[in-house]
Symmetry: C2
Subunit: 118 residues, 2 copies
Amino acid sequence: MYSKELLKGTLRTVVMELLARNEKMYGYEITQKVKELTNGKIVITEGALYPLLHKLEADGLVSIEKVAIGKRIRKYYSLTDNGSSTAQQLVEEFADFVATMKLIIDPPAQPGYGTAIV
Amino acid sequence: MYSKELLKGTLRTVVMELLARNEKMYGYEITQKVKELTNGKIVITEGALYPLLHKLEADGLVSIEKVAIGKRIRKYYSLTDNGSSTAQQLVEEFADFVATMKLIIDPPAQPGYGTAIV
DNA sequence: AAATATACATAAGTTTTTTATGTATTGGTG
DNA sequence: CACCAATACATAAAAAACTTATGTATATTT
């Protein structure tokens, strides 16, 4: 579990992508799924997740369905239409960002004096 | 210039990687180089850069050389030995993080009933 | 019976970055 | 040559995004 600094800007992307792939999920399920998929490398804390889910709801990107499990209430979240397109955008932006970072970390070779482009 | 959310955890990585590739650079030069390399997609603001450079220095990851350019003083930063290994670590961590993110965005196919692994 | 896992939630504090300002020199252009 | 844009540094207030800590309660496993 060491991808902390980096995770900062990507929590929203991670959560929405999971919802895009799974129709409906509840908070705790999301934390477990992320742990499972990443072999424990990415761990979402509850203090970060729940406020985010509430914000996504306030922004109309997810809808809620409450389901009683025994005496407990579980809140299932699913993407709205708006949420679906946002999720797609976020994933695209992430891919683009990674490609952009690669330009810095692994810059294309400059054409020098000996390498005429014909 | 749209990679803002994502840039959050990567500023340190970007700056140190540039210093790793260039021996010595000054602040303004870093902002311009990043713009150039990324075709304007990543823009480092001065309000973020200068405090970071000062922190890197305080942490002993970079050393400073002041050079007078006319009446102006330019501050060249170079990585210390410690800084070099940190830079390398950061880049590795970023690569690892991207690989981990891929597990979520582009998860490996689950082996199902019809796909016995022999 | 006790410990662990499930399941939600919020609040205080930290870190990181944006936005806004400030100062000053240098180079180019009408 | 006056003015604007670019060069070059810097800091401070505010916002944003998380972490850490804490709280509550039910369900399951040992």
